[in-house]
């Protein structure tokens, strides 16, 4: 941008780039409201006629594809995130308050977990889950999610814990409060921004997870939203009406969740970036 550029240059350029970038999102949304035939022949045009048939068909399917998938996704995401918040907050607190060599070693071990791709461990994870009889079950998937994402939670909480003054805890200890009481009544409420970060990141990630539910959940418990979409894509039968309406309805919950906590999302992302 030169100083000499006309004032409308920047908004116009921004708008053009944004519009170009927007095309796939537009395709994703607009096709929800078209007849399957029109999706096939005219994926980019305006709906003609505009129809809610795809959505109503999806919501009233006899096999309950949407309701079953969304229930599974909510259960898995909700349970995983809840357990993760509790466990990583306590573990984060433990590590932040145990400045011994053992604590640092443990922290390092956890941090290594941040970059491990799930594909590396997925096959052995199925053996572990089979050994405890949890393969193909929701608790099994939740447990794996907890193990896999706990480093991230700990990372966020430990970082934040530094801003929580110790004096409070010590004062409460003198008053005779137990460690558990101190943590849950005094420290945890102060960690709200970190909790928000953990909730939103892990919520979005786990909701959108694909390979783990595909393999761990298997077929016996039905599908999550992502594996449900994958199933509808099928190679034999491309049911465009179902696919687009399922993508639309499956994204709405996570999008609402995101808009709700958007401020924390961006803040969480940028915390590390600006501080370095």
């Amino acid at each position: 941008m030169r100083d000499t550029a006309p004032p409308w240059a920047r908004p116009l350029a921004a708008l053009a780039v944004g519009a170009f970038f927007f095309v796939p999102l537009y395709v994703g949304v607009i096709n929800t409201f078209k007849s399957p035939d029109q999706i096939r022949t005219d994926p980019i045009g305006a709906p003609h006629p505009f129809t809610l048939r795809n959505l109503s068909t999806l919501l009233t399917r006899p096999d309950n594809l949407y309701w079953a998938s969304v229930t599974n996704s909510i259960l898995v995401t909700g349970l995983s995130v809840m357990v993760l918040t509790v466990l990583s907050a306590t573990l984060g607190h433990y590590l932040a308050r145990s400045p011994s060599r053992w604590g640092r070693g443990l922290m390092l071990l956890l941090l290594c977990g941040l970059m491990i791709p799930p594909q590396v461990i997925l096959a052995p994870v199925t053996y572990v889950l089979r050994a405890v009889g949890l393969m193909g079950t929701l608790p099994g998937l939740v447990l794996f999610n907890v193990g896999y994402y706990v480093p991230f939670g700990v990372f966020v909480f430990t970082g934040f814990m530094r801003s929580v003054p110790r004096d409070l805890e010590e004062a409460a200890a003198i008053d005779g409060a137990t460690r558990g009481q101190i943590f849950w009544r005094i420290v945890f409420p102060l960690l709200r921004p970190a909790t928000a970060s953990v909730l939103i990141f892990l919520g979005v990630w786990i909701w959108n997870d694909f390979i783990d539910p595909l393999i761990i959940l298997g077929p016996s418990q039905g599908t999550t939203i992502t594996t449900g979409i994958f199933r509808s894509v099928g190679v034999w039968r491309t049911d465009y009406g179902t696919i687009f309406s399922l993508m639309f309805m499956g994204t709405i919950p996570v999008l609402v969740f995101y808009l709700f906590l958007q401020k924390h999302f961006v803040k969480g992302l940028t915390g590390g970036a600006t501080k370095g």
Binding site: R10, A14, V120, I121, A123, P124, G147, I229
Partner: protein
């Protein structure tokens, strides 16, 4: 977040406290660990560390659950891997993909962040557009893009309308499919880079820019002299995150190309490892592929962190 300085003066007292507690015996500390640390650590160990150890162990065997007996074969799987076309191709493909995905969103993201670094409803709305792919599932993104890139999809419809006789087979031509995949990834990751760079830009002090302007520096010069050095941490974060995400790409391959067309034209390492483990059932060999993937990703992360951090310190 409160800076580190706030906690520093308290350090001696903390040390004193530790000593005090040690005098009360080891049990309170053990109890502290059991109640606060152990549950998370236990699950982490069970579902991450043990599986990694198992993976490594199996990579030294010919384990195939349906073709017993399992024998210890030493490093043979690793030797085989170095002569295995499928593995070497996947390594090459993943490297190309990673290179594109690290460079393109970084460059475009910076440009767009500079463009959007203004206040107002238009810029807010546009930021929303760029951020949205971050909350979409890779499966959703892959499905939409597959529809975009099919021969009867919007992209080729537009090209035909513009008079292109024979538009490319974006997903069916083995020479192009990989780049189509890379485009989708770049689109998905762009928003992330924009957020990070925008945050970096907001940290550039106004006074510095004004001072540079008074010194007669033009906008381009101001950018390179003042803004760019301040963006070093943002560059680090973007590069490392893009590197890790690109190197383990699986979902898009599974949904869009299944590794094809043909043998392995888009089969990334992650895809190959999953295929080998869950379709070919060569769990031993698949474990070796997985371990190799882990080593490469760890090395890449370490090297890029080291290089980029040095640059940050040099500033």
């Amino acid at each position: 977040m409160v800076s580190d300085v706030a906690t520093r003066p308290r350090a001696p007292r903390a040390a004193g406290r530790t000593r005090h507690r040690r005098s009360r015996g080891v049990w309170p500390r053990v109890w502290h660990f059991l109640s606060f640390g152990a549950p998370g650590v236990l699950i982490y160990v069970c579902f991450v560390l043990v599986p990694i150890a198992v993976s490594f162990g199996y990579s030294l065997t010919n384990y195939n659950p349906f073709n017993p007996p399992t024998r210890f074969v030493g490093l043979r799987n690793y030797q085989l891997m170095l002569q295995d076309d499928a593995f070497l191709t996947s390594l090459r493909i993943t490297t190309i993909l990673t290179a594109i995905v690290v460079i393109v969103p970084n460059v475009l993201g910076l440009g767009i962040a500079v463009l959007l670094d203004r206040r107002g409803w238009l810029y807010n709305a546009l930021r929303g557009v760029f951020f949205t792919p971050m909350v979409l599932s890779s499966v959703v993104i892959s499905v939409i893009w597959t529809r975009m890139l099919q021969d009867d999809g919007p992209v080729n419809q537009v090209l035909r309308a513009l008079g292109v006789q024979d538009p490319p087979g974006w997903l069916s031509d083995p020479d192009i499919a990989l780049y189509s995949l890379a485009t989708v990834l770049c689109w998905q990751m762009l928003g992330f880079c924009v957020v990070i760079y925008l945050a970096g830009l907001s940290g550039v002090p106004k006074e510095l820019m004004e001072a540079a302007a008074i010194d007669g520096a033009g906008p381009v010069r101001r950018f390179w002299r003042v803004t760019w050095p301040m963006l070093a941490p943002a560059l680090t974060v973007n590069t490392v995150v893009l590197l890790i995400s690109a190197f383990k790409i699986f979902d898009h391959v599974q949904v869009m190309t299944q590794g094809g067309p043909g043998t392995g034209s888009t089969a990334t390492i992650a895809f190959l490892a999953i295929q080998t483990a869950f379709v070919d059932n060569h769990q031993g060999y698949a474990s070796a592929e997985a371990v190799a993937m882990l080593v490469v990703i760890a090395a890449l992360t370490a090297v890029s962190l080291a290089v980029l951090r040095r640059r940050e310190i040099d500033q």
